[in-house]
């Protein structure tokens, strides 16, 4: 329901709602209030122009046109709604038939819809108007049936989308019949777009009616709708222009009202589920109070590729700003591989996005230092900086399917980097693309550059993505879950490739993953993130044995490997990650931690240096109670209230 009220929050939505309500009110009240005035014949005042008595003049019997226009609202709206209802019902039957009838018959119905959609609507309407005879009934049937194929097509597409979802498969596996699945699972999940489109359709039907009546095929005397009034008024347009303009304006306003209302509902529903008031764009990473913006900080260490201090990423939320990354500091040295691990929502991906300046525009990024190769990344987003990022930073995303433009050949997408950032000619850039694809071990690269992304396998696409990052001479590769969407064998190839590139060109790597084993295998150093903070930093070799934070130890223990004890249950972490909107005081991990005491729940442990890294825990390194972190310690998972 909250999503529907969002319609009213935009000026356009509010206007459209008020207009629509106005039209509906007029349709209800108009005939009750003004029927007598509209039918009053004034023979002494025939075809008069606008006057104080008759604001829009009179018709050929001296009847007041303004009143007639107001009274005609009901019939016009009724006819439009009736036609829309026919279009919706017939469309629903046609559109769901394919789902209900099964494969073969469904195909036949689809073909019928496709042919019907291809016919121009007005032609269909004229055809039906002739078949059903001239008059209101004929017009309603004509416009309703003419609108049905388009609606049927919409329903069919929406149904097909929902029918492919796993919950429909699950219901089928459970033996639920098709009709029941349609009523229980499919229709409720497509109702919103249908309602929206029906509203827009009503606006269209209103206009079509005006058109049909205007052609003399619609409502016949003595009844009258707007189209009829328009038809009558147009004959005397040189005597009294208002006679045609008044019903014309009514059609315009009502049609606009329905269309805009539908559009704004669609817009409001389409925004997604995270409600929130947009704040001004603060995408530009801004400096914390004590640091000058854009200045070279001077004390840059030549061996540090990435230097991050006090990085914060916040998003506006209804209950106050949401701190997704809460002040983290780390550096990445030349040629070093640093892993960032954590559960979903720990802020690890946002850290990567903040470094590459890709945080969504409503998020705000602040840091007291954010430097790549000694260049401040917090400055304004200009060409120099884009070039710097484009050539010295490579980004690899999780889903290789969505990170390429599907309509452009892979080679061209790689070459683009060369032409925009490196000043290469198209020929040079293409040569470089072939060479880079070859470097990421894509066989037959000279041929592959001319292929489209869908012609690549998942692993190959991911390698091509890395190849794109290597078009420049990157000093840093940021890889966000680069292997999560890939098979284990392909995952290994991609990880090997990253390691090889690192060794060959002394490129630094930031590898983000939820899988501790992947990070442990590739990286030198590991940062463990929890609830937007770094809770531990340690050498990768110490992950298995030397981790001191209970969270790190739990993450390591939770992953089965080829040596896991088959007789013991796997270690698990009870509870669920902290909601960034509601971070408790004290240590964020306390609620799930077997070592937590009263102090952990009140005082947030600082990140302090250890012999080999950093750790933020009051009980760092203390032995864990046995049995470690068993799921049974919390028999039921508690449901965390999400506001």
């Amino acid at each position: 329901m909250r999503r529907w009220t969002r319609v009213l929050r935009t000026p356009l939505g509010l206007t459209a709602t008020v207009l629509t309500l106005g039209v509906v009110m007029l349709a209800v009240l108009g005939p009750i209030l003004w029927t007598d005035e509209a039918n009053a014949v004034d023979t002494g005042n025939i075809l008069a122009g606008p006057s104080a008595d008759h604001w829009a003049g009179t018709d050929n019997l001296g009847r007041d046109i303004l009143y007639r226009t107001l009274v005609a609202t009901r019939l016009s709206v009724e006819l439009a709604l009736a036609a829309t209802a026919i279009a919706v019902v017939v469309g629903l039957v046609l559109g769901t038939a394919a789902f209900l009838l099964g494969r073969r018959l469904g195909r036949l119905v689809s073909a019928v819809i496709n042919i019907a959609v291809a016919f121009p609507g007005i032609l269909l309407a004229l055809f039906f108007a002739v078949v059903f005879g001239v008059g209101a009934t004929g017009a309603v049937l004509a416009i309703g049936l003419a609108g049905a194929p388009a609606f049927g097509r919409l329903v069919q597409t929406l149904v097909a989308g929902v029918a492919a979802r796993d919950y429909v498969s699950a219901a089928r596996v459970a033996g639920v019949g098709r009709t029941r699945i349609l009523l229980r699972h499919v229709l409720p999940n497509i109702s919103e777009p249908l309602v929206v489109n029906a509203t827009i359709g009503a606006g269209g039907a209103l206009l079509s009616f005006a058109g049909l009546s205007f052609l003399g095929l619609g409502v016949q005397q003595p009844k009258y709708d707007w189209g009829r009034l328009l038809f009558d008024g147009i004959g005397s347009i040189y005597v009294n222009a208002a006679a045609a303009l008044a019903p014309g304006a009514a059609v315009l306003v009502a049609g606009l009202a329905f269309n805009l209302f539908g559009e704004s509902v669609a817009k409001a529903l389409g925004v997604g589920v995270v409600a929130g008031i947009r704040v001004p764009d603060t995408r530009r990473p801004v400096a914390a109070d004590d640091a000058p913006v854009g200045a070279d900080l001077g004390d840059h260490d030549a061996d540090v590729v990435l230097d991050v201090r006090d990085l914060e990423v916040t998003f506006p939320a209804p209950g106050g700003p949401l701190r997704a990354v809460r002040g983290i500091s780390f550096t990445v040295g030349r040629g070093e591989a640093v892993g960032i691990v954590g559960e979903s929502g720990s802020g690890k991906s946002l850290t990567a996005l903040a470094v590459s300046r890709l945080v969504d525009e409503d998020g705000s990024v602040t840091a007291s230092r954010l430097e790549l190769l000694g260049k401040d990344l917090r400055g304004p987003d200009n060409a120099t900086q884009r070039r710097m990022l484009g050539t010295s930073l490579a980004m690899v995303f999780q889903d290789p399917m969505t990170s390429f433009n599907p309509t452009k050949r892979v080679g061209r997408q790689l070459a683009e980097v060369g032409t925009t950032h490196l000043g290469m000619s198209r020929g040079q850039a293409m040569e470089r693309a072939v060479e880079r694809l070859d470097a990421v071990r894509i066989a037959d690269a000279a041929d592959r550059v001319h292929r489209y992304p869908h012609e690549f396998s998942g692993g190959m696409r991911q390698r091509a993505m890395i190849g794109m990052g290597l078009m420049g001479t990157p000093a840093l590769i940021v890889a966000d879950e680069p292997t999560t969407a890939l098979d284990v064998t392909v995952q290994q190839q991609v990880l090997d490739l990253l390691a090889a590139i690192r060794a060959a060109d002394d490129v630094a790597l930031v590898l983000i993953s939820h899988d501790v084993t992947v990070v442990g295998e590739v990286c030198d150093r590991v940062l463990v993130m929890y609830a937007g903070r770094i809770v531990e930093e340690l050498p990768a070799t110490e992950l298995a044995t030397g981790a001191r934070h209970p969270y790190t130890r739990a993450l390591v223990a939770a992953v089965p490997d080829m040596a896991t004890d088959l007789d013991a249950p796997l270690a698990t972490i009870p509870g669920r990650p902290v909601d960034p909107a509601d971070v408790p005081p004290g240590c964020a991990y306390a609620a799930r931690c077997p070592l937590a005491d009263a102090r952990c729940r009140t005082d947030d442990p600082p990140l302090v240096a250890t012999t080999s890294g950093r750790v933020a825990c009051w009980h760092a390194g203390e032995p864990l109670p046995d049995p470690v972190l068993r799921a049974d310690s919390a028999r039921f998972e508690t449901l965390v209230e999400t506001s």
Partner: protein
């Protein structure tokens, strides 16, 4: 609960258009056992699962349950399936309780259904009061437990688990795997456990079959196959398990 039953694929072939996704596969899930099915995406392992529950048409061969064909019509469904993505396998507009109750055999009264939903939720270690909430309020791991409860609601003899942990955080994966093992032992289910992660399969399955290009290339007891793989592809899979070098 139905009695433990054997699920047998005999020379099963499934085609999508001209592509042969599953090419003459024969595989047996013995009564009360867990058989792991591993392979890369596109190897046909999910298609095999969908064919078993009637979501993909057979082009050849037969799938039998305790010697009889798998029923794919009517409400009695002794073969149930748990899907990979817990975010798409629960209807966002139905409460947890409704989703679970839907899969129950018909005929029970409202009160009986409610009690059964509560029992099933407890079985998968979820608070029975969750029956009244929508899936949007649950985490991925909790949703996957609901999906398990729904599969069990049909009183199945055999359950097919299709990559049920690969969409989950590793921290939650462990809890779901523990649950699968526990349910299997308590209920004596036969399970076909599909995964691309050998370490996971090793943990839950006694037998393993390796699939590639629509065919089964190796099959046998898990410890034997993992210790002494007979096919190059199995060796390749083993070599790719992350963290194999770290103790």
């Amino acid at each position: 609960m139905n009695r433990p039953t054997e699920l047998r694929f005999q020379d099963v072939t499934v085609c999508y258009g001209r592509t042969t996704a599953v090419d003459g596969v024969s595989l047996t899930v013995p009564a009360g056992q867990v058989v792991g099915l591993v392979g890369e995406s596109g190897s046909g392992k999910s298609t095999l699962a969908r064919a078993a529950v009637g979501l993909a048409p057979l082009a050849g061969g037969a799938i039998t349950l305790g010697g009889a064909p798998v029923p794919t019509r009517g409400r009695n469904r002794p073969l149930q399936m748990v899907f990979q993505d817990p975010y798409s396998s629960l209807d966002p507009r139905m409460t947890i309780g409704e989703s679970v109750a839907e899969a129950m055999p018909p005929g029970a009264s409202r009160a009986e259904r409610r009690a059964e939903v509560a029992r099933l939720l407890e079985l998968v270690h979820l608070d029975p009061t969750h029956a009244r909430v929508l899936p949007g309020r649950l985490s991925g791991g909790q949703r996957q437990r609901v999906a398990l409860a729904r599969a069990l609601a049909g009183r199945p003899a055999v359950v097919i688990a299709d990559e049920i942990t690969s969409a989950l955080d590793v921290s939650i994966q462990g809890a779901v795997l523990n649950l699968v093992r526990e349910l299997q032992r308590e209920l004596g289910l036969s399970i076909l456990f599909i995964s691309h992660n050998l370490a996971v399969v090793r943990y839950v399955a006694t037998h393993v079959a390796v699939m590639r290009g629509g065919r089964i290339v190796e099959e046998g007891p898990t410890d034997r196959v993992l210790a002494d793989p007979g096919h190059d592809y199995t060796r390749e899979l083993l070599a790719a398990v992350p963290g194999r070098n770290t103790p």
